[in-house]
Symmetry: C2
Subunit: 161 residues, 2 copies
Amino acid sequence: MAEAKAFHAHDHTGCRGAALAHAEAVARDKGLRFTPVRRRALEILLEEHRALGAYDVLERLSADGFGAQPPVAYRALEFLVEHGFAHRIRRLNAFTACAHPGDAHAPAFFICESCDSVAEAPAEPVLTALRKEAAHIGFTVSRMNIEAVGTCPACAAGSPA
Amino acid sequence: MAEAKAFHAHDHTGCRGAALAHAEAVARDKGLRFTPVRRRALEILLEEHRALGAYDVLERLSADGFGAQPPVAYRALEFLVEHGFAHRIRRLNAFTACAHPGDAHAPAFFICESCDSVAEAPAEPVLTALRKEAAHIGFTVSRMNIEAVGTCPACAAGSPA
DNA sequence: CATCTCTTGTTATGTTATTACATTTCTATT
DNA sequence: AATAGAAATGTAATAACATAACAAGAGATG
């Protein structure tokens, strides 16, 4: 099973390249247009293992010569989220690159309240439990978000990121 | 086990009264000040089985003679959430009265994308599954929100609320 | 009744997100 | 290659959500 990498040292440059390559491959397969803004937006998210606000992304995009108005960022981010290349963290009003591209998707997010890092972990058992509750009340789930706030291992150990 | 009532006919006046009575009792026990604004804010939330935005609540509060500025609503709502009398639905930027006051709290929310109703269901199994994932990556969970978007039974049956 | 704390009210501002519309770019088809 | 339709982008304007900072009032405690 894939681990939540954000809390551990890893080949960061590699994970960036892989995510981009994956997005490109998926786009080709599905006939999506992985345009420059969209690509750049994903790169921006991949540059950090924390969630970025739409306006943070916008700032960087416009610094790179793209439009400077909010919809530029929101549209690019919406595209990334819609196709599973990124996720939206409601609790933070922010976005983060998908850490497990290609996996079946029912991710849970673990947000450290001390250092703001965000880890994404696959959460099939959580999803299963939730679907069961839903079935119980006759509700059909189409999307969901599962977000936990707490303390990451590094901060618990006294060495905040 | 308690059911998600929002999707079924029930004694609505009764559930309102019970929730208020419960809040009063808890406040007495814990020495909280269940002041007029706070009480009225809870009543307002109880008047609907859907989530209300802070500004919706504010509008009603100020119509009742309370202050007309955002902090009035945000503070009252914060109090209610902090003490478990209400919940915040991040996905909707909105608040809803707690449907299971007194129960141990790890609620999941089911949001109907067709009629905007929100059901709250106890979700201990979900919580358990999530804690297990968290333990796996060394993360300590302090709070969480679990929100599912989909279709409620009534809307699925073609009779949106 | 003096004081301390909590709560409320208000002003001002900060942050996040969307609507609407003009323009350009891409794609498919001729 | 020309062109019509669809998708994407850029921009302006504004809507919706949320908080900081401070003054004034209400309740508890000694």
